[in-house]
């Protein structure tokens, strides 16, 4: 028994050693450990809430990256499923009295159905049809919500219950922080694993050349549809987490401005990386919600301008993104070759 235990321990130790010897993994571990210790340093409650919302935004951004960066279908109406999650949770509570925990799986199911309905006509054809029409979907959702004003309260938004009604405000903020962090960790790992699996390779082959991957016997519509469904499900999850934390499902979650935020975060962090999208979202969203609101107050109208102009410059000059650049630099320390120049040379 003891011998077995020892061998298991030594194997674990050995594998841990080889696993941790790469600096970027060590960095990831440090960041995750640090993020679990954040509430213990008695932060400002507004900052903690900003980081909580930023973690949820990170799920949203990573799901955009999975569809756009890997499968080459930029979705400019990604807020559709986010808003669907938010409104689904609020409506289920207001009509049936269901708790937001039960609403999450229901929302995900609806998001799957909606993805199939949207994806089938637009992903089947080659060309930019999906990106073009994706801008229209959230507007349709907005119109439908305005049409049923009696149920949805139109412009005023729907109130939403919290996840932890039995805790005090401060405890609730900390609990929400850990919940958002856990969801971000789990969904980030799932998306990263999907993106780096065989399926992720197939997505990239579709991005690079649809015709060539079709001639290799890949059913491109099927894989595009899978990417759309996974991406929309995680966006919907982010929406279902977001509404109970801000206690409101508002029409703002369907706006084009909101659809563009994941694009900003992902391009800032690095397209086609997942971790770039997550870090970009956490950094920029904290900047947006805390630093530009509390530390240096800037009028809300200016935020989009402040974030959009650097994105144009990023796309033109630095296509690889900031977080990705840093991670590649760290990877270089351990002797691995950089992929930045090779994949974005042309």
């Amino acid at each position: 028994m003891e011998i077995k235990f020892n061998t298991l321990g030594s194997i674990l130790k050995g594998s841990m050693k080889t696993w941790l010897v790469t600096p970027h993994r060590l960095l990831a571990l440090v960041i995750i450990t640090f993020s679990f210790l954040v509430p213990s340093i008695k932060l400002d409650i507004t900052l903690l809430r900003s980081i909580t919302l930023a973690s949820i935004s990170a799920i949203f951004a990573a799901s955009w990256d999975l569809l756009a960066g890997y499968c080459g279908q930029p979705n400019f109406g990604h807020a559709l499923t986010f808003g669907l999650g938010a409104y689904g949770t609020a409506l289920l509570y207001n009509l049936l009295g269901l708790s937001p925990w039960i609403a999450i799986p229901v929302n995900l199911l609806i998001a799957c159905v909606i993805s199939v309905i949207i994806g089938f006509p637009f992903l089947r054809v080659r060309g930019p049809y999906f990106s073009l029409m994706s801008m229209v979907f959230p507007q349709i959702a907005t119109s439908i919500i305005l049409l049923f004003k009696d149920v949805t309260r139109g412009d005023r938004g729907l109130p939403c219950p919290t996840f932890f009604p039995f805790l005090t405000i401060t405890e609730r903020r900390i609990a929400e922080y850990y919940m958002a962090l856990l969801f971000l960790l789990v969904s980030g790992i799932i998306m990263y694993k999907i993106a780096n699996s065989l399926r992720g390779r197939i997505f990239i082959s579709i991005l690079d050349d649809e015709l060539a991957s079709q001639s290799c016997g890949i059913n491109i519509t099927k894989y595009k549809m899978q990417a759309l469904i996974v991406s929309n499900c995680f966006a919907c999850l982010a929406g279902s987490l977001y509404a109970p934390i801000v206690n409101l499902a508002s029409l703002w979650t369907f706006s084009l401005t909101f659809s563009f935020y994941p694009v900003i975060w992902t391009v800032f962090g690095g397209v086609q990386t997942i971790y770039g999208a997550i870090m970009g979202a956490v950094i920029l969203e904290t900047l947006d919600r805390y630093i530009l609101n509390v530390v240096v107050p800037v009028p809300q109208e200016w935020h989009m301008v402040i974030f959009s102009i650097p994105i144009v410059i990023f796309i033109i000059k630095w296509r690889f993104g900031l977080v990705r650049l840093i991670v590649e630099k760290i990877k270089n320390i351990s002797g691995k070759t950089s992929v930045v120049k090779e994949s974005h040379g042309g």
Partner: protein, 292 residues
Amino acid sequence: MLIESVLIQGLISGVTYALLACGFTLVYGVTRILNLAHGTFYMLGAYVFYVLGFGYVGLHPAAALIVAPLIVGLIGVVCYILCLRPIIDDYFGIMVVTVALALIFQQLTLIAFGPQLIPVASIISGSLVIGRTGVTYSRILSLLISITVFFGLWFFTIKSKTGTALRALSQDREITMLMGINVKKLYVFTIFLSTLFAALAGILIISSVTRQLTPTIWLAPLSLAFSIVVLGGLGSIKGSFFGGIILGYVENIVVSIMPGGGYLVDLVAMIMVMAILLIRPAGIFGKYVERV
């Protein structure tokens, strides 16, 4: 809800939407730029027209109708040279940059003019009575201008030398370069024309139909224009003309028949687009070319 009213208003709004859509499809057909910021030039056109004609400068509205699209065309060319020319072959970058530009312009307009509705007077007052329905002169004016522009564009692409070059460019860029045509200049010219059409459509719709300005007015017409473009065939000017008329009628019929129809126009247009894409993947007038 009279039949002749639906017939006349549907034609008028359809042709004006088609003017907006044809600029978009022209740019896509010739330069392969998917200009998602097209709607912003519609909004900018309306605001520049308001500033020139009613607000601060005090030009005659008819003069503003001519000057404003030219100004917006120049803005479009500047945007193209600064932001789009360096990444002309990168379709992902172009989409992101154009949406970013759209939001930057929207926010700048919001900062400059505020979120409140600004009422806009029509260019000419009075109305004409046809049968039992009255049609305002400004709507007739917008119909005439749109049809003139369409026939001008058609004549230009068929008969003139530059138009022939444009058609060549839409078929193959490299071969056009080999024929000794200045492709760079043609790109700038196409962008100028397209933004000019968008601005003109904006002015016509704002001054004759909606009569009010907000920084987000461009979203609804833009989504209709996208539906028109996909319905008629991406890159086909004829397609966007007929697609525009079809959707103009659909809009008017839906608004007049269904309760709460104003909210359902987008949905009905989207269902039509989905149905057309399932039957004809390249739209009504598009050619499905397998590009290798």
